[in-house]
């Protein structure tokens, strides 16, 4: 069983490293464009709401804690705690998506969705006219990166539902909790992506120093 556990963990890491490459490519493209248009990116970041971003960071970190505790409970065979922790993880994961939804709605009302014709407007005192085109680049990065992250969250919630159903049947205990462990790896990975998205998307305009 020990060897099976190690193989499953290793296999999950192989998958996660392909995910790292996937998100790494987007972070690389972001770096190139941000270094081309640093002032435009800083100005555009003023239209992000750091309160939403910070709240979501906090929610996701708590969900990682409950996930880690779920794995621990599965390992110790504490069925009740395992189920409670899985439900808490799902609640925090859903809270993240709800906050993200409110945020997307704000951008939609604010006319900051360059992907949809007719939902982009660049005006007001915070919007220097010379950045009208470049600002759309950051918002495209924002929607693609947070969008792919949100899709991963939805997938994660699906996985948690499956694990919860298995846990209710009493499938896990000290000798077998591999599915909980590898699902935890996935959940923590999605958390790590957000740890990088938060400062790079939300906190670059605050300084007003234009990098």
């Amino acid at each position: 069983m020990g060897q099976q556990f190690d193989s499953a963990t290793f296999g999950m890491w192989v998958f996660l490293l392909t995910e790292i490459m996937f998100f790494g490519g987007m972070f690389g493209a972001y770096t190139v464009y941000r270094s081309m248009y640093p002032e435009a990116f800083a100005a555009t970041s003023n239209f992000m709401n750091p309160a939403f971003g910070a709240a979501n960071t906090a929610v996701l970190i708590v969900s990682s804690l409950t996930m880690a505790l779920a794995v621990r409970a599965a390992h110790l065979g504490q069925q009740k705690i395992l189920q409670i922790m899985l439900v808490l993880t799902m609640i925090f994961g859903t809270a993240f998506l709800v906050i993200k939804g409110f945020e997307y709605h704000e951008h939609w009302v604010d006319m900051k969705v360059p992907l949809f014709p007719g939902h982009w407007a660049w005006d007001g005192p915070l919007a220097p006219p010379q950045f009208a085109h470049q600002a759309q680049i950051l918002f495209c990065f924002y929607f693609f990166m947070t969008g792919f992250h949100a899709i991963h969250m939805v997938v994660g919630l699906g996985i948690m539902t499956t694990i919860l159903l298995m846990a209710r049947k009493g499938s896990f205990g000290p000798t077998y909790y591999t599915p909980v462990e590898v699902s935890g790896l996935y959940w923590h990975f999605v958390d790590i992506v957000w740890i990088f998205l938060f400062p790079l998307l939300y906190l670059i305009g605050h300084t007003k120093n234009l990098i």
Binding site: T9, W13, G28, T31, I211
Partner: protein, 99 residues
Amino acid sequence: MHPVTPVRTYVLIWLTLTILTFVTFYVSTINLGALNIVVALGIAFTKMMLVIWFFMHVRTDNPLTKLFVFAGFFWMAILLALTLGDYFSRAWMPLGKFW
């Protein structure tokens, strides 16, 4: 199989991650010039290492998995370094204010 990590360790890691989130938020409001991005990425990297090492149990994984995780990140570092090295060394691109 991993040894069981005490709840206290997990809670301490969570506390550290939350404090680091506040720190990165606060530092972004101070103008440090080019250092802002260095601090932001440094804190994000520290948080990532904490999550990988403790929450993802790489701390107690076998040497093969440890090596593989390290190799994966090292490989991405190579890809990013070569890609960015290419872009940043092109004379016709309007770069230079970033660093």
